[in-house]
Point group: D2
Chain length 163, copies 4
Amino acid sequence: MISIFVTGGTFDKTYDEIAGRLSFDVTHLDEMLQLGRARLPVRVRTLMMVDSLDIGDAERATIVAACVECAESQIVITHGTDTMVETAAAIAAAVQSKTVVLTGAMIPYAFGSSDGLFNLGSALSFVQVLPPGVYVAMNGRHFSWDAVRKNRDTGVFEPADDR
Amino acid sequence: MISIFVTGGTFDKTYDEIAGRLSFDVTHLDEMLQLGRARLPVRVRTLMMVDSLDIGDAERATIVAACVECAESQIVITHGTDTMVETAAAIAAAVQSKTVVLTGAMIPYAFGSSDGLFNLGSALSFVQVLPPGVYVAMNGRHFSWDAVRKNRDTGVFEPADDR
Amino acid sequence: MISIFVTGGTFDKTYDEIAGRLSFDVTHLDEMLQLGRARLPVRVRTLMMVDSLDIGDAERATIVAACVECAESQIVITHGTDTMVETAAAIAAAVQSKTVVLTGAMIPYAFGSSDGLFNLGSALSFVQVLPPGVYVAMNGRHFSWDAVRKNRDTGVFEPADDR
Amino acid sequence: MISIFVTGGTFDKTYDEIAGRLSFDVTHLDEMLQLGRARLPVRVRTLMMVDSLDIGDAERATIVAACVECAESQIVITHGTDTMVETAAAIAAAVQSKTVVLTGAMIPYAFGSSDGLFNLGSALSFVQVLPPGVYVAMNGRHFSWDAVRKNRDTGVFEPADDR
């Protein structure tokens, strides 16, 4: 069984047509798993629906606790990209014997041109075969939590030391 | 470097609006890698653009030869689902020291509701971390070539012995 | 009140992922009206779900009868493009005092790149303002039933005498 | 020849994946006309790319001038929905002998679930058959500029006196 924790982020942003701006409603995760015809045993739980920039210590503690407490040893977390690496570090400090993969999207899934479905397929695959540890899966690649950063100019995740 | 071999299949079917039927044009692979914002070093080569049911001995020999001859040790092959397992077996008989992952789609990528992007993200991830061998990646799962079959009633790939 | 008669055609084709070919299921008309946020009083009725090439005398008689018998004086018909003009002529021979607009699509609505939603918006608009008569609405234009043909090389509807 | 003036609005909003917010780039109008397989003689001109709430007197004067000065007597204007009626009124005060149709979208065209393509098909159809005047085309309907308002609770355009 794979545990999937939803935290929001661009991945799950939607367009509020009355207010005329981006917002959060419910997660698209189930719809995406159906679209991918995924036949994995998964348990989806929405921890929060917030922008990555609104994830502070309290939110991070909630995510870490969920990783610690869940029965599953394979965990995928959808998360905004801006602070994904910080959350990964917090999880790594508390979780040793599980495989945790964080992923997200540069474009909301609800947009036609989203990378979300590709990233979800990628994260769910990495989590099944990588050894215990905390990873970021973006751009078709996986990185250990302590060897990655988001390049804010290009939006691409890259090895932490290769600029 | 990952080698991607395109062979056609539902994955790459398109709609010919003049003839009013499904057909093949060029592959959507590059567009899909761009959509997924993939930053993997890949080499894409179209071996053929045919329906899975039109893959016979000659076509299979071409695919096997491409796997044997390419310099890369990580190979993803897009392939129609109906004969994917047969092609996987043919490759397994000839290739030992490489990781080969076959994937496809139940719905053409050009259709809005395709599983193709999810499957591509999945296959590209599995190929980077699985040990040498020949695998099928569908439905978010991976199977060894000799332990999988497509259930033709449900369209789902499942362990070869679990019906 | 506008009467909408569904007859199938490319407009409503879907992809049968088990059989691996195009087929008909239920109409997408209601979903499309919702997507277009249409607030028109409409009555949608599916007369048949067939390929335009399978519309013969019997099917055409059914369509004509539906136009004659319905209470509404504004009628939109979704129809395959190959024989749309023939059906328009059959209706014109039987219906005088109503505005009937036939439309369709070159690409199935279920495909991402369909012209169906554009054509539906167009047909529903023309039917509200054109005087009684039988028309074809395609390519953003409207044509009287006796002054249009489909150019089979380009897929474009054009004045019957301008080649 | 139909003149199409682009002013921005939700219709043309796009997602800036580096900044993580909605913004304007170039118009999607040409892509939409291609998708709709429109074969109308049109001249597309981008007057501005702004949010409807940022359309003030100066912007409105620019739009009115464009309507007055263009050679075409059929004009479609894409415009944000929040101040569409105000702009329609300004045009009506200055333009008498042309048919001007304003339209927009509740959801950006770049989003999968947009009403934009439907509305464009509708506006381009109404402009060809309505008598001279200034109209709003939304929700599959057309309204004279002085008999319509946007219901801000529902996002629906409705007769100005029917609440």
